[in-house]
Amino acid sequence: MKVSMKINGVEYERDVEPRRLLVHYIREDVGLTGTNVGCDTSSCGACTVLMDGKSVKSCTVLAVQAEGAEITTIEGLAEPDGTLHPLQRAFQECHGLQCGYCTPGMVMASLSLIKENPGLDERKVREGLEGNLCRCTGYHNIVKAVLQAADEMGVKA
């Protein structure tokens, strides 16, 4: 069936089976491969994107459920001229990634967290990212990066 949605501000329409998962619609039908699949069982958060502004695990959403939604993926964050989003820059500056596999999901989950929670502190960041696993960094630098970005985005306590 025909499924249309806006991804990073661009309208897409694709003809897919009702069982198509949103993550595959984004990666394979639309071709935006920045969003990763890790566990495929809604545990790891690698597939996190924003759906109408809120973080969701796109391996656990059917593409048909996102009809008419506004999706933001990691590709939608930087400026058209390549200037990184404050969160992307903070991850880079704080060394918030090693292999980078979890990073797109971490960044999208963090963006949702920052927007929803004015006055973030370390504990709230750790709890707020409980749905995202990282096998490399040990999390400390991810937490640092999120707090730095929250500060820069003007929403920290």
Partner: protein, 270 residues
């Protein structure tokens, strides 16, 4: 992982949802999909038709109705968690919602989906059982109200018939104190055992993951009614209950946890 093939339609209203669900015996409603899609990916559920009720925004609300609060079935966990009305009138429910999964899960999952799924391991059903909530369902033969005590029947089995839609959850006011204890080992995990305790006139105690459905602790409640101390009542918490053994805990360990958590919860109530 892919679900097996199914047809998909969107419900445009409650009546439309009822009509569409009746059109196919193997049809299922989908709300947030955060219990159903994982089951379908593992092929533990293979509906032939999904009726998407996710667009029924009229069923997403939290209202003060005087002696009770009314929560629309499509209200997402994140809305229950952050509702100012609930935080003021029924903070227990906001707190319990905040413990469900992780933020991504709470952005999608709905209270109605959690209740209709009827998983004994879920947090909100046990909390609603202790709160003496009732469920409003509409179906081909009209609207009916089902008390939580009669709603949860067994493993993923509720009093809802397959052609009935859960539309609202009614929670009585008048809670003078409450406690919710969720025991798990890692962030994001389901409860190994959970205890919901509510004082609203009498004291009610319900368990998460002590059986195939959410359960009331009749042993503990009886003991309290006959004037037992907290220690005595907690000791009887698992009376008549045979919890399952799994990778996370043996049945004996669950019984132990139930007693300890019940004691802590009751201490918090008093």
């Amino acid at each position: 992982m892919y679900p097996s093939k199914f047809d998909y339609v969107r419900a445009l209203s409650v009546d439309d949802a009822l009509e569409k669900i009746a059109s196919d015996e193997e049809a299922k409603f989908i709300a947030g999909g955060h219990s159903l899609v994982p089951l379908m990916k593992f092929r533990l559920a293979t509906p032939s038709l999904l009726v998407d009720i996710g667009g029924l925004h009229d069923l997403s609300y939290i209202k003060d109705e005087g002696d009770h609060l009314a929560i629309g079935a499509l209200t997402r966990h994140t809305e229950v968690e952050h509702s100012q009305l609930l935080q003021a009138e029924l903070p227990m429910l906001s707190y319990v919602a905040s413990l469900v999964g992780d933020p991504q899960v709470r952005h999608r999952g709905t209270i109605g989906g959690s209740v209709a799924h009827g998983d004994g391991a879920s947090d909100l059903p046990a909390a609603l059982l202790a709160l003496d909530a009732s469920m409003i369902a509409v179906g081909p033969s009209g609207r009916r109200e089902i008390p939580a005590k009669e709603f949860f029947k067994g493993f993923l089995e509720t009093a809802l018939s397959p052609d009935e839609l859960l539309v609202e959850i009614k929670v009585p006011k008048g809670v003078s104190s409450w406690s919710y204890k969720k025991f798990n080992r890692r962030a994001q995990d389901w409860a190994i055992v959970g205890v919901a305790a509510v004082k609203n006139g009498s004291t009610k105690v319900a368990f998460v993951n002590m059986g195939s459905s959410p359960l009331r602790s009749t042993g503990c409640e009886d003991a309290l009614r006959s004037g037992a101390t907290i220690e005595e009542a907690a000791e009887r918490a698992a009376e008549g209950i045979e919890p399952p053994s799994d990778l996370n805990a043996s049945s004996e360990f669950r019984v132990h946890l139930a007693k300890v958590l019940t004691r802590r919860a009751l201490e918090e109530l008093s």
